[in-house]
């Protein structure tokens, strides 16, 4: 109830303030569409929280004071590419949406990216992981915020080998996404001088990981890499906790884990898990302030990297529109977004590259023991900060046609 009330007050306030002033941008109202998974497995990592993040960004940008009217609408793609594609088309064709945000789930994101290019609008992705969006399938209308598969594999693989984790065993989800994560991480591990002692392919949506975990344990590898996602990751972490794998000295490396997953698992189970995250709420005073405002609106749940990505991308988009003074030509606004350096309180300074990749430092983290956690959502120990120029795939290696 309080959430709705607060939102209502905020909206009323913004509308009241929307009286035209001497503004640089005086075009028609801007409309942002948060296309997300509002009810399924990604709802906690993105979902309704992303709508809140977008609203906070509009507020912090001071859109109302500048005379810009910015609306946000939300939509649920239900993790179905066809549902997502039809919402995206309808938003662009009929509802006057200028930007689509978030979009967890790679299949939906790739579809939305194509449609966005066709309609010359802008797609600011922070929810989907696939690095193809800034690789072979990059477009002049898509920017990838927050994280991607290459960054996760590279960050975790490289940093762990450097810390002495030089022998790996992979638990790999038996489909394209799992192979890609495994392949990317393996390459990094080998390049850094580590070796891969074995791997096992696990069927998708597996419940019982015990036999696979025993193989991993028997391999004596220092690091067990989890090349899987969602329920498979949480199930394998639970299994590993039951076998006491991390307590026995092997490291568990998650390749796609979010702070909300850790929250769901609890520290007792997740402790010792090591992975790369693009953002953490407890980095500095600014991020803590953002987290406090966000969690007050989000039923006490703290923001993750995707929420932070939505916030940061909206701020940067509005800056670009202000500079271009028009929102009509999506490619032109995005060009401006690539020219301007990014700077906001949540992600700090960064840039948007030619291929649409937004770069910033990322963090190798380890989940704290229950005894080390001092306050709510105090989950990460930051092991290493990976600088922006090392964190993401080098521009030349992505095979993006926009780069030459």
């Amino acid at each position: 109830m309080t959430l709705i009330k607060k939102l209502a007050v905020a909206t009323a306030f913004m509308t009241a303030m929307a009286a035209p002033a001497f503004a640089q941008y005086s075009g028609p109202p801007i409309k942002l569409g948060v296309l997300s998974d509002m009810s399924g497995l990604y709802a906690d990592l993105s979902g309704p929280g992303s709508v809140i993040a977008a609203k906070l960004a509009i507020e912090d940008f001071g859109a109302a004071a500048k005379g810009m009217k910015v609306d946000v609408i939300g939509g649920d793609h239900q993790n179905k590419a066809d549902v997502g594609a039809s919402i995206a088309r309808q938003w662009y064709d009929q509802d006057g949406v200028d930007v689509i945000l978030d979009v967890p789930n790679s299949a939906v994101a790739l579809a939305v990216s194509d449609i966005t290019k066709e309609k010359n609008k802008i797609f600011l992705n922070s929810g989907a992981a696939t690095s193809d969006l800034t690789g072979p399938k990059c477009t002049p209308n898509t920017i990838h915020w927050a994280y991607d598969t290459w960054m996760l594999a590279n960050g975790t693989g490289k940093a762990l080998v450097k810390q002495g984790g030089d022998s790996w065993f992979f638990l790999t989800a038996d489909y394209a996404f799992g192979y890609a994560l495994e392949r990317d991480t393996m390459e990094v591990v080998k390049k850094e001088g580590g070796k891969v002692v074995g791997n096992v392919r696990v069927p998708l949506n597996n419940q019982d990981f015990s036999s696979f975990l025993l193989q991993a344990q028997a391999s004596k590898a220092k690091v067990i890499g989890l090349a899987n996602a969602g329920g498979d990751t949480t199930n394998s972490i639970k299994g590993a906790a039951e076998f006491g794998i991390t307590q026995a000295g092997q490291k568990l490396a998650g390749l796609l884990v979010d702070v909300n997953d850790v929250h769901g698992l609890g520290l007792q189970v997740a402790q010792g898990l090591t992975f790369t995250d693009a953002w953490y709420w407890d980095l500095n005073d600014d991020t803590r302030k953002f987290a406090a405002r966000f969690s007050a609106l989000n039923g006490g749940k703290y923001p993750g990297k995707i929420h932070a990505g939505v916030y940061s991308s909206v701020i940067h988009y509005l800056k670009a529109v202000e500079a271009v003074k028009s929102k009509a030509d999506g490619a032109a606004v995005e060009k401006k977004m690539k020219e301007l350096p990014t700077d906001d309180t949540v992600f700090g300074k960064g840039e948007v590259r030619q291929d649409g990749r937004k770069t910033h430092p990322v963090y190798l983290v380890e989940v704290k023991k229950p005894s080390e956690s001092k306050k709510p959502w105090d989950y990460y120990k930051i092991l290493t900060t990976i600088p922006a120029n090392e964190a993401f795939r080098p521009l030349k290696e992505g095979n993006c046609p926009l780069v030459n």
Binding site: S39, I73, R89, D93, Q94, A107, L110
Partner: protein, 323 residues
């Protein structure tokens, strides 16, 4: 699976004159539709309507509950997307290819499952559909999680570009109308009468000398083929083929559409498909409540009007005519 009042109303020869009226209304709706409703949404609804009508041949008119129809929808959708994108076939050939693949798959699965009945039949078809799902998840050409993206719509017969949504809509509407007439014709042919006899009383149909299994197999293949047609077109409309179309949830959704609209009626499945697709689309902003609303409607349907929307309407219409 008894739907007696319904079959009575559609098979009575006396209603020949008035039975034309619904088709005229349908054609009118198809023509006026795009000026009132967003064409891409309409195309999606038409694809699902076609899917539900094809499913209804099996459930409504033969009395077989398949729980694996997503396999045909999905395989056809992947096949036509692959044909259009990688082989560069024109849309009509890509659709034909997808439909043929579904037909072949329907023949194989049909031959292996048709001897079983009831819950066993539902389970075995589900098992096959899950095999197809895992095949699609693993096979190289389907692109795993990402699916096949940016499928070109191409030009019909190499002449008429389907790039604009309106051109595509006209094409989809025409195919839908023809399919619909075809299903109507098949249901009312002697073949359709035998299917209904099988549904009502299989033992009696056998004793009358019909080779029941062959009829059931034919109905299964027909249903799979038309499902494939719907899947192939869907891939071109959305320009993508993804795992959504092969999941077991999709097999469940079509059962829901058919039951809600009215099992064993001609128009029921199409109406059901429109209702479900509209809910998915227009209630999308409610988030997780969509599923709750769908569930509530399903419960309401089963508790209060088991004949479905069209079935109930038919029932009261006939009652009024008689009384």
């Amino acid at each position: 699976m008894s739907a007696q009042p319904v079959s009575h109303s559609v098979s009575s020869p006396a209603s020949g004159g008035s039975s034309l009226l619904p088709f005229v209304v349908l054609a009118a709706c198809l023509i006026i539709g795009p000026s009132l409703i967003y064409p891409v949404f309409l195309m999606k609804a038409l694809c699902f309507a076609m899917f539900a009508c094809a499913f209804n041949i099996l459930l409504g008119f033969t009395g077989l509950l398949s729980f694996g129809h997503a396999a045909f929808l999905g395989m056809a959708s992947y096949s036509s997307a692959h044909a259009a994108k990688v082989w560069g076939l024109t849309p009509e050939l890509a659709i034909a290819f997808g439909t043929l693949v579904a037909m072949a798959l329907g023949t194989v699965i049909g031959m292996l499952t048709i001897r079983s009945r009831g819950i066993y039949f539902a389970n075995i078809t589900l098992a096959f559909a899950q095999m197809v799902f895992f095949f699609c998840l693993q096979a190289k050409f389907t692109g795993g999680e990402d699916g096949i993206q940016s499928v070109p719509r191409g030009s019909l017969f190499g002449l008429i570009s389907l790039k604009s949504d309106m051109a595509m809509y006209v094409f989809v509407a025409v195919v839908f109308f023809i399919t619909f007439l075809m299903i109507y014709r098949i249901i009312h042919s002697p073949f359709g009468q035998v299917l209904r006899a099988v549904r009502e009383n299989e033992a009696r149909a056998i004793s009358l000398g019909y080779k029941v299994e062959q009829y059931k197999l034919a109905a299964f293949i027909l249903s799979a083929t038309l499902t494939g047609l719907a899947g192939s077109i869907k891939a071109l409309v959305f320009q993508l083929a993804s795992l959504t179309d092969v999941t077991w949830q999709m097999s469940g959704e079509v059962v829901l559409m058919t039951l809600l609209g009215g099992v064993g009626t001609i128009f029921g499945p199409a109406v059901g498909a429109f209702v479900i697709v509209s809910m998915e689309n227009y209630l999308a902003e409610l988030g997780s409540w969509v599923l709750v609303v769908q569930g509530a409607i399903f419960v309401l349907c089963v508790m209060t009007f088991r004949r479905g929307i069209v079935g109930t309407a038919n029932y009261y219409w006939n009652k009024r005519q008689q009384g």
